[in-house]
Symmetry: none
Subunit: 206 residues, 4 copies
């Protein structure tokens, strides 16, 4: 096996880990499974990642990056309030100032966030589960907490461009709670309800 000099190997192992976790969960992640998925020798995974926790940490970090990029690229969220207001009526379906929420000033943001979630749930369900599973793993793995905290921080920061930080934090918490209920109980995502509740949080600002 002449595979020396593979500078991307570390990266490929992380990607393989994400695929393994997506398929079988963190419980299915082992040096062996990830080595097989990445098509590298077993020793290579232990060489690059001294422990599974280390690999898990790297995987969570990558997952965060993936999500951040996805959010940044999301059309629904990218829209700026000013532009929106300026947009002529008859525009896109979701952004027209209060589809459901009573028309308070928070309607636009609430609507956009709801749309992001809608897109997210409409896409590959495995991807959401993957990201949540990694994120939730921090509950029992203290080494993951700093990375989980980074993620939460970054989500709050992103929303802070549209509202005050405390409200942003609450929006993230509510979104997470809503997602969790959908994912854990197998119930359907209810866009109207979500939009309404997000709007309450935004509009409740003193």
């Amino acid at each position: 096996m002449a595979r020396r000099y593979d500078p991307e190997r570390r990266t490929r192992i992380i990607d393989a880990a994400l695929r393994v976790i997506a398929a079988d969960g963190i419980a299915g992640l082992s040096h062996r499974t990830v080595a097989a998925e990445a098509d590298v020798p077993l020793g290579s995974t232990t060489y690059h990642f001294g422990s599974l926790d280390e690999l898990l940490t790297a995987a969570l970090r990558r997952s965060n990056e993936n999500f951040a990029r996805a959010l940044r690229d999301s059309e629904a969220f990218a829209a700026q309030p000013a532009e929106c207001a300026a947009r002529p009526a008859g525009g896109g379906p979701g952004v027209e100032d209060g589809a459901g929420a009573g028309g308070g000033p928070g309607a636009l943001l609430a609507d956009q966030l709801t749309q992001v979630l809608e897109e997210w749930f409409a896409g590959d369900r495995g991807a959401i589960e993957l990201e949540y599973e990694l994120y939730l793993a921090a509950l029992r793995r203290p080494v993951l907490r700093p990375v989980a905290a980074e993620w939460a921080e970054s989500a709050v920061e992103t929303l802070s461009t549209r509202t005050d930080p405390a409200t942003a934090r609450a929006l993230v918490a509510l979104l997470e709670g809503v997602c969790l209920q959908v994912l854990l109980t197998g119930s359907a995502f209810d866009a109207d309800y979500t939009r309404e509740m997000l709007a309450r949080v935004v509009d409740g600002r003193a």
Copy 2:
């Protein structure tokens, strides 16, 4: 070993499972560890629970019961339903004497819920982690979802005695999101912020 006729064995095994999970997480749960913790022969655990999933389901159900009882017994929450009932239907803005939140009608409920959480976080951290770990396990274990759904349902029902069902559901989601942030990122529980955001959800009712 003359332990025949032990009608409580099933129960003792479940309790042992909860202790094992509290100590080492679900990953540490095995027929062996639970048998040792319950001081029961190895074969006994496989006899009473055909698979670990079965045991896990029973454990989650018990955990839910424990939490429900704790909530029912909580002084903070058990409070003023009587007053509420006594209040004239369709009356004014409700209970205005909320401690903390600016005086919106949701102040009292928000305050009580915040207090419940405060008590919860002040107590044994292991207990919270245990309950959350079991609940979150439903993400990857479909067999647990019905039980997780039961739990969510029951929480919503409990809150529905104080507000409308949709708002109750959102309160549960927000509470879960807040708890998750505390547990996953290791940050401190912020009572004022929690109270304020809960109140926004309650008071936002159309």
Copy 3:
């Protein structure tokens, strides 16, 4: 592989362990090597011995028993002083009161012990190394110390039938020191010197 119901399996594993250690040293002892040597499945060794230390302890104990039996069966040592004295001159070669040692009263015991060592060194060298290696392993493995202490105790007791306990202990120490020098430096066993020094210890009694 239908090998259920093998009540002697534990014993066979210990015997196999002794053979493995004799051949490759404690460093060569592993669950795998011992399983192969005993012709049992790998899992069988870990089932019967929860850890290698446990297996090692059992092996040292067995080794001690083997040695004790060998000593008991040794003709050289079995001879009783009274009988010896009563025996007509021209008897066996080594027991005649002071072959080398100056004729002090300790000559007989010293001579017999020397003969035991001589027999021992003349036999299978691997057996001695095996026993010493197991015994010396207690230096770094506290769990072995009680067993090593048992062995030392038993050796002292055996010699105490022929002299006072303190002297017996010193004889054992001297014998061990002499053996060690032979085994560690590769030098030859010097019977005359050994006899002489043992006699000094015995005869030095106040």
Copy 4:
């Protein structure tokens, strides 16, 4: 990492090896552990020492030097050679003022040796175990035997300045046997008994 031209590296690696062995035993010695302890690249250890046996040999040699220096520096033993030299050749029973042993001529030497041991056991127990473990390793590693033999030889030579060579050899054997019993069985060092038995060996000279 600009650590070229490091003439002391070999030495530092050996010192690190001694620390590793002191901490985790020979079983804990590996190229990796010693490289980490010496703060040296992994490749450096395999470069300077072709095999672990080579490193082990060097470590045993250094350990011997350390012990020899310690013995030389010991006040207890460094004692009265002058008096000895001053004593008329072929004189009477030697140094009779032995502290403890009944006054035989060997009393002084026995007393001094006992004191050396007492000091040794009073000091860092890890150091003794380290030295013994390395020394005893020769049992199973023929390459170490010459070095172990050097050590024994040197100890005998040192004692030979105070008594005849055969007696010196026996004293070393007895001392080793006594130490071994203490180290292997975890029993306490008994100075009176040791002094008495050493004296018997010295005084037994024909």
